[in-house]
């Protein structure tokens, strides 16, 4: 009866674990690119600023709550809000969940600032950045171990001149030297 050698088992484990990791590799890859460019954009939320115009509201005698009530009424929105804020004497911000109404009392100008999660990226970033904590921390740790396993076993899958003993060792060396050189340079 033929006996499977260690390389056979390596192939099996590498293959099956590789299949298992496809989903999470894609999650981390997509999220990784997005958050790597955090200097250029918000990778998780889309923040839109939409202008509008209503009639001027208020004077010195009107309190902020009444101004807010009239603004919301003109905009045909429900009267609820989380809080009010005056960044300047002529501006009132009506802050609602994921929606801020910036009202200019001198012109009646309104800017709706609306915050929405970016499709796909919101979810992948939640996982990648471990926002949920708890059990996901252990799942992420297990995934990291799996990736390390795939990396190590991958080196020994192929025999001969295209394997680790041949050109493989140079490619591994290049891959290790790249981050080391960057760290050394910076």
């Amino acid at each position: 009866m033929p006996k499977h050698n260690w390389r056979w088992w390596l192939h099996v484990l590498h293959r099956d674990l590789g299949y298992l990791c496809v989903g999470l590799v894609l999650v981390y890859a997509i999220s990784g690119v997005a958050v790597n460019h955090v200097a250029d954009w918000n990778p998780t939320y889309r923040i839109e600023r939409l202008p509008a115009q209503i009639a001027k509201v208020g004077g010195d005698d009107l309190g902020d709550a009444e101004v807010a009530r009239q603004v919301l009424s003109q905009l045909q929105l429900s009267p609820e809000y989380s809080t009010l804020y005056r960044p300047s004497p002529t501006q009132l911000h009506i802050i609602r969940p994921n929606h801020t109404i910036e009202f200019d009392q001198t012109t009646g100008g309104v800017v709706h600032e609306v915050v929405t999660g970016r499709p796909v990226l919101y979810e992948t970033n939640q996982l990648h950045l471990n926002h949920h904590k708890g059990v996901w921390t252990y799942v992420a740790d297990a995934f990291a171990v799996a990736l390390a396993f795939l990396a190590i076993t991958g080196m020994f899958l192929i025999k001969g001149k295209k394997g680790l003993a041949g050109r493989g060792k140079w490619l591994v060396l290049a891959g290790v030297l790249l981050p080391l050189a960057f760290l050394w340079l910076h």
């Binding site: 958050v35 955090v38 923040i47 989380s82 609602r96 969940p97 490619l171 290049a174 960057f182």
Partner: protein
């Protein structure tokens, strides 16, 4: 042997123009414990040009995480910020503004007035305030510090703002350095 040498050379060459900006994102949720290495490079944030004038904020020995139990009213700090300079305080307030790109600062409304708020700045990437926390209560602990923005930078920012809003800008309207106060956040909970 040509292929390996070529690959090695390409690898080393690729390092030379490598990005120098740290864009690591942080967990940004619930209670977070920031690391101690200071770095403030949010180019999109309005206070990017400011220079801290309070040495205690970056002194060694700052403790991580929440260490205080008693809240200091934001109104009290805003009324006499110099009395709190360099001191570690715990504050609580509703978020009325959040950094739209990196989530590296939040402005917390005063408990007493609608038109006053405390600016809370954290190290980029160590604590990330999500854009969805506007209007929600936030707790932050940190050091009160004075920030002095040089006149030239104030003028530059005012000119850029006027240009963005399509308004005329009068350079003479900016006189002297701008002094403001902020909380250098070391821990936050939301």
């Amino acid at each position: 042997m040509k292929l390996p040498v070529l690959l090695l050379s390409v690898s080393l060459f690729a390092c030379l123009p490598a990005c120098s900006e740290d864009s690591k994102a942080a967990p940004g949720d619930k209670t977070v414990q920031p690391a101690e290495k200071p770095k403030d490079d949010c180019a999109n944030c309005p206070d990017a040009a400011k220079v801290s004038a309070t040495p205690a904020a970056h002194a060694e020995g700052l403790q991580k995480g929440f260490t205080l139990a008693d809240y200091t009213p934001i109104s009290k700090i805003l009324a006499a910020p110099a009395d709190f300079e360099g001191k570690r305080v715990l504050v609580k307030g509703e978020a009325v503004f959040v950094c739209p790109t990196r989530g590296c600062f939040v402005t917390l409304k005063s408990d007493a007035e609608n038109d006053k708020a405390l600016f809370v700045k954290v190290e980029d990437g160590e604590i990330v305030f999500p854009a969805t926390i506007k209007g929600k209560p936030v707790e932050a602990e940190g050091i009160v510090e004075k920030v002095v923005t040089p006149e030239a930078k104030v003028r530059e920012a005012a000119e850029a703002k006027a240009k963005k809003e399509g308004k005329e800008f009068d350079p003479a309207s900016v006189k002297g350095d701008k002094v403001s106060w902020q909380l250098r956040g070391l821990a936050a909970k939301f």
